[in-house]
Symmetry: C2
Subunit: 339 residues, 2 copies
């Protein structure tokens, strides 16, 4: 089942989207918003699935689905917690700084509490106060959970996964060092993030989903040039149930919690840092990683962060080449409060 | 106007509470939940105020108000961002560790993104997995905002303050050092926090509210013994509009955002670290600060963190000695997943 929230009010209007992303049908007579569906999932899921089947068969009224009409599936949510499951990425970033990554990072997930009250729509521009902030994208996978009790096991956590989405975790790289040095984590360096137009139930992913990881390439393009295609199922040290259980260790997670994978990153075949796509590698899911590899190889970064007018696109395709989640596609624009 | 959310469903049932906290009347025919009221404040506020006036005059049906029937005014919210506005507290804590606090902390607010999806009710127990986690309370003031645009000025921010509440920001002290060392801020070390039974509009605070700070003692008791009574208007380096503007620098804040002051803390009259109430001082708003002062004076802490069965009470009284927000009162109990 594929779900989307069309732009309407603060929480969007829930629609069911056809598997091929061409048609949609209103779900509001079952439940008006995705958050409300997640709040009452056991009851509404079967009815939403019936409707999804009817949509596939063309036996309900439907309309053309346009990704640019979408808000994020949860335009605001009660929790966004982002892991750093691709420890390779973390190790590279530290290496570029000349810092050693603690051994414990391979066993104890890194995770930060993100702002969840204002997700951008998947085709909304990224408003930039200042290019000097070092605007970057981060292509990620995330799961949306039901209620998870405090102290949940990995098995409890796995059962609580309701939906899978893509994320652009927008980051202001040049604000990060000073902010992390203060010791309390990210805040201003993590502006509003973005979710893919469509959220899908895990069964839509077929064999690519093994219950914990999504084994498909995550495609990032920058200004229409391929930038990254690492496989999200590879080098993911902590799977989603592990990340969820980590988040739930000392408190429950409310329905609609979004748990991110962190920037998807694969090692190079030879075991070294990944190479750009133009050099035959799998590329990167954020500019910072490319800059990190450049720093390791050449002593300094050669790629700049995003500038006004730059466009990032994040997408994932199934084995047949069809888009699964629709595409996040965002242009960096100057911010104006009147905007 | 005083508002409360009685326990019902995920978001509580909005009631208006009389100024003296003895009576309440249902507001659901105006708007069912506090979040919905905040989403549409301009429209519903005048109607809620009319109802509040009728309640004071006894001209609407009402019922006895019991604080133990309350959820937190927002049982779940889209954002909880907690500042450390009482820089005195931060300086003390660092001093006890033998660390220097950077000068910039006096000009650039510290703030962390907290979990907002599962606030405890004001009389709910604090579920403890393990006393060895170092369970502590933190008595704080917080404001609840309307929508705040990205890049808001202090003046914009001041106008966006809708409600004031008390907070118990429960902390697991012994998990903090390892978590902060990972560099991404708090997560497991900050379990569910708690808000006071009642949220009040700033006008209810009279002259004690100057638009940015609340000039009244914040009263904490531990096992019925007075523990802290620092004045929340004193030594608050950053006022609420400054904290809100800090949070909104690179992204908008959604209606219902809760911005905390951090642990309220006053310097001693002599300018040194505060003394316990039993020694004629103003005491502390968390155990960590008392332990910190003990460490500075005696080389090691002498007070233990909270144990199973310990009860913390947090309250604020007006000039006439009447409770303004009702009391947070929580006992530490062993956690069991079966509840």
């Amino acid at each position: 089942m594929k779900l989307s929230s069309l732009k309407q009010g603060r929480d969007g209007r829930l629609v069911i989207v056809s598997r091929d992303l061409t048609r949609a049908t209103d779900a509001f007579f079952i439940v008006p918003t995705l958050q409300q569906a997640l709040d009452d999932w056991e009851k509404v899921e079967p009815r939403l699935r019936d409707l999804a089947e009817q949509l596939e068969h063309g036996s309900v009224p439907s309309f053309r689905f346009h990704e640019h009409d979408c808000a994020s599936p949860l335009p605001r949510s009660y929790q966004w917690a982002d892991g750093s499951a691709y420890v390779n990425h973390v190790e590279l970033v530290r290496k570029a700084r000349g810092a050693q990554m603690p051994e414990s990072f391979w066993a104890d997930p890194l995770m930060y509490q993100g702002g969840s009250d204002s997700f951008l729509g998947p085709r909304d521009p990224i408003p930039a106060l200042d290019e000097a902030h070092g605007i970057d994208f981060e292509a990620e996978i995330a799961v949306i959970t039901g209620d998870v009790p405090m102290g949940a096991t990995r098995e409890d956590a796995a059962r609580a996964i309701r939906l899978v989405v893509l994320v652009n975790d927008v980051s202001l790289r040049n604000l990060i060092p000073a902010e992390l040095a203060k010791g309390f984590g990210f805040f201003q360096s993590k502006p509003s993030s973005t979710l893919s137009p469509v959220a899908v139930t895990p069964d839509e992913l077929g064999e690519a989903w093994d219950g914990g990881r999504l084994h498909l390439p995550l495609l990032s393009t920058l200004n229409e040039k391929p930038f990254g295609k690492p496989n999200a199922g590879v080098d993911m040290t902590f799977d989603f149930p592990t990340l969820i259980a980590h988040a739930a260790r000392t408190r429950p997670l409310g329905a609609g919690t979004i748990i991110g994978s962190g920037t998807v990153s694969n090692k190079d075949e030879g075991g070294g840092p990944g190479r750009p796509i133009s050099e035959g590698g799998l590329g990167y899911s954020c500019l910072a990683e490319q800059r990190t590899v450049e720093t390791i190889l050449h002593g300094e970064p050669q790629t700049s962060f995003m500038r006004i007018g730059d466009i990032v696109r994040i997408e994932m395709k199934d084995g047949a080449g069809h888009s699964i989640f629709g595409a996040i596609e965002q242009e960096v624009v100057p911010y104006s409060q009147e905007g």
